[in-house]
Amino acid sequence: MDAVIGTGNDAVTQVAVTQTASSDHLTVENLIKIFGAVRAVDDVSFHVAPGEFLTLLGPSGSGKTTLLRMIGGFENADAGRIVLDGQDVEHLPPNKRNIGVVFQKYALFPHLTVFENVAFALRRRHIGRGEIAGRVGEALDLVSLAGLAERYPRQLSGGQQQRVALARAFVFHPDILLMDEPLGALDKQLRERMQREIRALQKKIGITTVYVTHDQTEAMTMSDRIAVMNNGRIEQIGDPNDLYERPTTEFVAGFVGDSNLLDCSVKTYADGIVVVRLDTGGEARCHAKDAALGPAKFLIRPEKLRLDTRLVEGIGSINALPCIVAAATYVGDYTLYDVTVGTTLVTVKQYNREGETRFAAGATANLSWAIGDCGLVR
């Protein structure tokens, strides 16, 4: 809690109390947005540190775009606070918030050249002609578009337009960069390249960024932290490793990365290890923090599973169950096996390496994995 009190000579004694850490660049508190009967954003709160790259990740309708638009000032909040660089901004229109926005369809001004598009914000700030030329040139260099300044947007490819949109958004050094699924319209190769370029650029300029996407790979590769959203709420917020290895809800476990979620019930708990009985048959062990017994979901990622020809019992720090291979799909760098454990279908991802056994449909196999490679999700 910070308290600022004015001196006795002032007519008014000011007391400003904040609960946010003074190092937070953006703070969103209890934000709510309702469209008719739907709570598009349902009591959302989070902080973003200066220079941090935070991604709002979720399926369509999760509220991530609405949330981003509220931060930008394009939608009014029905309740809640938005604090940007120490200032309450939820009552301010977008043009007073000092934000840079990259829209999904870029929204480049078609009647202006690339130069004028990028210079647009600078001209609004009454910056001298020479300085504008210099800064626009720098920005275009940073996005590798030097030499295209006199073209019109319609003469550029999708990737080039995307870069102009980016240059236009950061050239005037806004407090924060907001990006709404900017790579959706690009093909896979270009998209992956742009992901790396955007991230590198963001780190280089050091600008606080909030990024929206439904693509979890994109979120994982680019972000410092990810907020996974579902039905207007943040289910979990953490760095990519946290979300992948320690998902706290079933939704996050299923949405981030591939997963096998098996119904089970917790039987015993001792020394940080639980023993569960899988509904589909058999027992398994994993690490857990609490001792709550009863039904839960057992999570094992496909790449953590191992198939062997020799059937063994699970012992020590290894879980093992017999299974039957239902299907094998060769993907190139790996092979996906669908195996049945009891009555449940489990996906196994095996990287294709010399010496790895290939299994055909119908074969019996031993499914094993380390205790540390699985977990409970409620």
Partner: protein, 271 residues
């Protein structure tokens, strides 16, 4: 593929024009005397200047009133739009004769406008609002307004909202965003509306005839005079051909200045 359409254009359009051209050359006598006759006095030339002058003012009037209406129509709340559209379209669907008589009722010496202004005390004597170019321009502007409003409406309405949001995010307030983004992107609508209004105004007859009361001579009323009073069909045909030629030249010159691409807005705001 275009053969049926070409045939249609040929029969319905080129044939009558051809016949008119023949009439102006006094088929079967084949003389250019009637064309020369047009310029024997200054009457026809004066009527051409009047036509041009009136048409330019009508375009300006339509721009002045039509742009705000088109803008409002494009940016108003969806619930309001049908009612606003009706205020533009309802007169459009009313007979032009009826509308002109309504204007006469309003503008005449002891009409509504003069009575109102006199009763408030703004004027002592009734103003001459009719039977002059002012009344004609007013009536024609009213009649041709939808031709300006609709293209402008389309040009503004079709702009992606993201443009204005982008302008806002870059620091532009509402008026700056309008000046720098909405207005430039609506130019194709202005070009289209201007051309429609101007070309139509050049050939306009009913309003100059009624609200002009015989005192305003434009090309159309001149041609009518030649037919009805002087029974000079070849002369009237010659005058028509000259007017048609002028309109074609004006349109061609306009197209040069504003390329067809811009008119259809194909390259601009539709992205």
């Amino acid at each position: 593929m275009i053969a049926p359409a070409a045939l249609l254009v040929g029969v319905l359009f080129l044939l009558p024009i051809g016949r008119l051209f023949g009439m102006s050359l006094d088929y079967p006598n084949w003389t250019t005397a009637f064309f020369a006759g047009l310029f024997s006095s200054s009457v026809y030339v004066k009527s051409l200047w009047a036509t041009l002058r009136v048409s330019v003012f009508v375009v300006l009037g339509c721009l002045m009133f039509g742009y705000p209406i088109g803008y409002l129509l494009a940016t108003c709340r969806a619930k309001l739009r049908p009612y606003l559209a009706l205020t533009v379209l309802l007169p459009f669907w009313t007979s032009i004769l009826v509308r002109n008589f309504a204007w006469m009722y309003l503008l005449q010496r002891h009409g509504t406008v003069n009575e109102l202004l006199q009763s408030i005390g703004i004027i002592d004597q009734p103003l001459r609002l009719m039977f002059n170019e002012f009344g004609v321009v007013l009536g024609m502007t009213n009649a041709l307004l939808p031709f300006m409003v609709l293209p402008i409406y389309v040009a503004i309405q079709s702009q992606d909202e993201a443009f204005l949001e982008a302008a806002g995010s870059l620091g532009a307030g509402p008026s700056v965003a309008f000046l720098k983004v909405t207005f430039p992107l609506s130019l194709p609508g202005i070009y289209a509306g201007t051309l429609l209004v101007f070309a139509t105004a050049l050939g306009f007859f009913v309003t100059p005839a009624l609200l002009g009361g015989g005192k305003v001579l434009v090309a159309a009323t001149y041609i009518t005079y030649e037919i009805e009073i002087l029974l000079n069909w070849p002369g009237a045909a010659a005058a028509s051909i000259v007017l048609l030629g002028i309109i074609l030249i004006v349109v061609a010159a306009y197209m040069r200045v504003v390329t067809i691409e811009r008119l259809s807005g194909a390259d601009d705001a539709m992205a």
